[in-house]
């Protein structure tokens, strides 16, 4: 039962990562790396090495948006042109490919961008209330390691944090 959440604030990535290495190495039994959330002021480039690969589905949304732009764009334009009451032809075909290409190109990007944006909002789980353990120090210069765990593991994890020069530890009951 993961009924407790604990936050440890570290001075820098090295110290936080060494703590995480210990968690990965199952120094605290029952606490795995998947229970860990890392809060940081910047994104560390080698974060995967520490936290392991966590999936991100964003590009699929983008692709879907772009493909929608492509198909919808062309069909929309072509049907509008074909059903237009009058024809501003200028000697050109009713469905002119060059100009439709330009517009479809724009629509691919338009829908792609918006799809990406909404996917971002959705996938990064924004719009949620920050939990009580959020520390403003994280946005300043400290690294926060949040672990969800059973109360029984609390003390051993605290010890592990302290080994790695944790600056501050906060905890909350999330039952």
């Amino acid at each position: 039962m993961k009924n407790y959440r604990i936050l440890g604030l570290f001075n820098n990535f090295e110290e936080a990562f060494s703590a995480l290495h210990d968690i990965r190495a199952s120094k605290v039994p029952g606490v795995t790396i998947d229970d860990v959330t890392l809060n940081s002021p910047i994104e560390h480039p080698e974060i995967e090495e520490v936290l392991g690969d966590r999936p991100c589905h964003l590009p699929k949304f983008t692709l879907a948006g772009a493909m929608f732009g492509l198909v919808f764009g062309f069909l929309f334009l072509a049907s509008a042109q074909a059903t237009f009451l009058v024809q501003p032809q200028g000697g050109k075909p009713v469905i002119p490919l060059p100009s439709n290409f330009v517009l479809v190109y724009e629509m691919i990007i338009f829908f792609g961008v918006w799809a990406t944006f909404f996917a971002f909002l959705f996938l990064s789980r924004l719009f949620r209330k920050r939990h009580n353990l959020y520390s403003e120090k994280v946005s300043l210069d400290q690294i926060g390691v949040i672990v969800e765990l059973d109360k029984s593991k609390l003390d051993s994890l605290k010890d592990l944090f302290k080994q790695h020069k944790v600056l501050e530890i906060r905890e909350e009951d999330i039952r």
Binding site: S79, A82, V86, Q87, Q89, G90, G91
Partner: protein, 278 residues
């Protein structure tokens, strides 16, 4: 269904002017102007003012270049084997050429100018938003823009009583141009349809052609093979759509201005003649 419409008529929708275009033309209103007869007297221009409710802009605005004259007589002083002014001036009546592949049409963002099944370039005043792109893209520079609202300044009472009720008075912000007197075309076509017949050649003509004292302007329907204008085009071996005329006799007088730009003008001019033997 739109989708099936597109798929079924795909080849039709992909037809450009070279393949006959989108329309199956009912009429093809065209003109032939004999520049040897044209004396440059401006009667056509004033007749156009009278017929089409053109605004008189006054001296200051004329000076700015904001005048409206759908039909203008251009006067040139060159193009002669002899040195000017030996053989007089050259006069050129210039109005909208009602191009078959008009460059003004594709650039209008709201399709206020389009191609009618009569082969005319329509300008729909109430659709126009005044982007003026069409004028920029017109090689003949025959589109005129309402830079002001001229209703009160140009037709102080009772001059407004002269306004032709068949034609809209254009307000500020609207592009306008020669329509080949579409209100007359409309009346003639309605009349013909009411009697279940085709429009007869010579039944009506445009204001400029009607007034022309020397009958230099001939207007008609080239779809009607017996019309005067169709005969003139045929005699001069001027073809539509092409960008370069292929005549059996290269000395024939008919030509179209800027046909090499692939705009397919509907007005054929016939070369001015000068007697060089004297």
């Amino acid at each position: 269904m739109s989708l099936s419409n597109i798929l079924n008529n795909w080849s039709h929708y992909r037809r450009g002017a070279e393949e006959g275009g989108h329309h199956d033309y009912e009429h093809r209103w065209t003109m032939a102007i004999n520049l040897d007869k044209c004396i440059g007297c401006n009667a056509c221009s004033v007749a156009c003012y009278s017929e089409n409710n053109l605004a008189v802009v006054g001296k200051a605005k004329f000076d700015k270049g904001q005048a409206m004259h759908w039909m203008r007589i251009e006067r040139y002083f060159d193009e002669s084997e002899k040195e000017f002014p030996d053989s007089g001036a050259s006069f050129l009546p210039m109005m909208c050429q009602q191009c078959g592949a008009a460059t003004c049409e594709p650039v209008c963002p709201v399709a206020a100018t389009y191609h009618t099944p009569d082969g005319l370039n329509a300008q729909v005043y109430n659709r126009c938003i005044g982007s003026r792109y069409c004028s920029n893209n017109c090689p003949f520079r025959v589109r005129y823009f309402n830079f002001y609202s001229y209703y009160e300044s140009s037709w102080p009472e009772p001059l407004n009583l002269q306004l032709n009720p068949d034609i809209t008075v254009r307000d500020k912000g609207v592009m306008e141009k020669c329509t080949f007197c579409v209100q007359r075309i409309r009346v003639a076509k309605d009349k013909a349809k009411m009697a279940d017949r085709r429009v007869i050649d010579g039944e009506f003509t445009t204001a400029c052609a009607q007034v022309c004292p020397t009958s230099a302007i001939v207007f008609g329907d080239t779809m009607d093979k017996d019309s005067q204008v169709a005969k003139l085009w045929k005699k001069q071996q001027v073809e539509r759509v092409v960008t370069k005329q292929n005549k059996s006799n290269s000395e024939l007088r008919g030509y179209r201005i800027f046909e090499e730009l692939n705009v397919d003008p509907s007005v054929m001019y016939m070369e001015r003649v000068r007697d060089t033997e004297i």
